[in-house]
Amino acid sequence: MIDTISFRRNLPVGAVGHRALGWWGMWMLIATEAALFAYLLFSYFYLLSQSQNIGLPATPPSLRLALPNTFILIGSSLILWWGERGMRRGRMMRQLAALGLALALGVIFMAVQGEEWRNKTFSITEHAYGSLYFTVTGFHMLHVLGGALMLAALFVWTALGHFNAERNAPITIGALYWHFVDAVWLTIFGSFYLYPYLL
């Protein structure tokens, strides 16, 4: 424990990096959203184990669209990380390009996922599996949409010159959320697309 505390030294003013309150707030949002997806997946596994016939299709779902789509999402995270590294060295154009690219990949992901939904032979009301599949992937889709809007806003703000190598907390915070949305997809992909192959 520190007995004497001194604040008589040079302190940054305002939102800076990981000292920004928003950075902490975003981690809290991620914690509660992670819990939400944990409960969604709990519902899926609970019904799989407890219910007589939840309507799981006889053959495991096709990976033809879902697997490439997963890589698209991972790629968008990597690009964002690359942009942030550049930004810390003052390369704001690279950051701008990374935000634009990540946003484009996010939009492609949503379009492909929409196609995936159209290809399904069951509906949300048909059986519990259908309800779960569309609700869980729907929740994720909403989060991708939210993340994409966030990236779009950050793109505009970066273009307007709101950020620089030192003052860029909103970008770091937004990127954190985007990485989280991608991580969530991996758990959904594992549960709904890969797990049935083990059954």
Binding site: P12, L21, A35, Y39, A128, G130, H162, N164
Partner: protein, 655 residues
Amino acid sequence: MKDTYDNRTPALSPADDPANAARLRQLWETPPGLRGQLATVDHKIIGIRYLVTAFLFLVLGGLEALMMRLQLAHADQHLLSPAQYNQMFSMHGITMIFLYALPVLSGFSNYLWPLLLGSRDMAFPRLNAFSYWIYLFSGIFIYTSFLAGGGPDSGWFNYVPYTALNYNPGQGIDFYALGMILFGISTTAGSINFIVTVFRTRAPGMSLNRLPILIWGTLTASLGNLLAVPAVSLAFFMLWMDRRIGTRFFDEGGGGDPLLWQHLFWMFGHPWVYAIVLPAMGIVSDGLPTFCRRPLVGYTPVALSTVATMFIGFGVWVHHMFATGLPALSMSFFSAASFIIVIPSAVAVFAWIATIWLGRPVFKVPFLFFASFVLLFVIGGVSGFMTAAVPLDWQLTDTYFIVAHLHYVLLGINVFPVIGGVYFWFPKMTGRLLDERLGRWNFWTLFIGFNLAFFPMHISGLLGMPRRVYTYPAGYGWDTLNFITTLGAFLFAAGVLLFVFNVALSLRRGEIAGPNPWYASTLEWAVSSPPPPYNFAVIPTVASRHPLWETHLPEEGSGRSILDQGAPLAEARETFGVTALDGEPDVILRMPTDSWTPLVMALLLTALGYGALLRNWALCGWVSVGVVGCLLVWLWPPAAPAKTLKYRTMDVRYD
């Protein structure tokens, strides 16, 4: 906007510098008038709003309870129809457990936290305003069900299939389901705010082991809520989808399972029970020692047992489901966990008793409430311990014994500390003390009324009287007990009236309190009553758990807190950001000004709730666009100036 982003060494100033105070007042004061009030982000104003709103809901829930007690005063009465009675007990539970019990504690915490922590506001002042508005609107939302054909009628736990569309075709359940999602947003926003506040915006030197227990309580409750609330929001969303979209989550015929509802509900429900008592236990842990004239015995064990209670609290939810036919192994595990959770609670009880025992109690009204809380907690705890045993639970579940247990717990651990807390902090909030003589009458009426109402329920439960029945036949031996319960309920209601009367009277004629009428030890008592809008003229430097008792407590260490001089941080709305554990300043935070966005955001989300209720998807779509626009305005960053590289040379590492 010169110097918006920069770095600087904070200036030092004496606390009583009038120029400084004037500048701070100009920066922080909410402008008068309705517009100022609607846009304010002052945590003290928001805290009092939370308290008043929660009390209004307490009165509403109390009126519903009185109607039920009139109905049950004698056998075979028909004041209420069975359908009306179902709505009464459902809305009574919803109102008390959701709309009163947590918000009232959030009210205390909102008002007190920045004062206890030695800072100027919560970490996210606008989010704070938003969480209040959406709480208020969610309560109104649920209550508007009465205007649209009837309220929810399946209990606060809302079990499927009672609530499935084919058994419950009205809209009451939809109001409840969507209203709870709005309420969950409020709780989550509030929890995030509390957690970040405690880790980031404290006074220099306020290390984690110097936090008042109230802060440990609310912090623990907030962490619990953060992880538990999504379960119930999701469950209610799924239920609404089952009812109005046609999904099959809880529909056995479609491969769903009604028990999934119970799991999700109680995974949330039991941590929630701790969320609505731990901050109240914190109120006692901080208030009681003030009236025992000594620090709390066992600060560290009490803080740790607070956290441990919540941790174990996530592993006991199945004890609400012992009668649903689960495997014996599962029941054994959850029964054992429910026994173990008694241990941290007992640690706290012994700490309170030891504090009274080793102190020199001053029998003021708050002391009466806090001390009686210990007794009621023990009674409620013992009846809870009894029902943790599976065989006994099978005998007692769904009887009035459980009703007695949960009311001893919820009124004993929530309402008594809350009213005691109002007696304790009313002088801080208003500058005037509540009347002591009226307060004693108030306490004894509540205490006797409460025990008269709820103790006999143990017996009527043991005699087999089931919960949630709208009437009962004579001759089962329940008649006298029920009549006594009804008398007690009305006596308790009289006590609440006395309390309201005391508040109304003392607001105008109460004795002037001064900064520290109870000679208490924590930082909120260092400032004037009521505190100025900026809380502290200079940010204090904290060196112990009891900054105002340091000269009397040699065993508390040699450190001396500094309250009479410090950093005024008066260049804009500013406060210190500190390191999470030690409380060492690492940034000067810019705090947001008053804003309309929180209110607009809450209105938009409420409109989204009504849109979903009416299944008006066009409305939902347009409102969603509004939500995005509102968020953009809310989060729009200030422009960064060209030169911000100076602080690269400073002595702390910038990462």
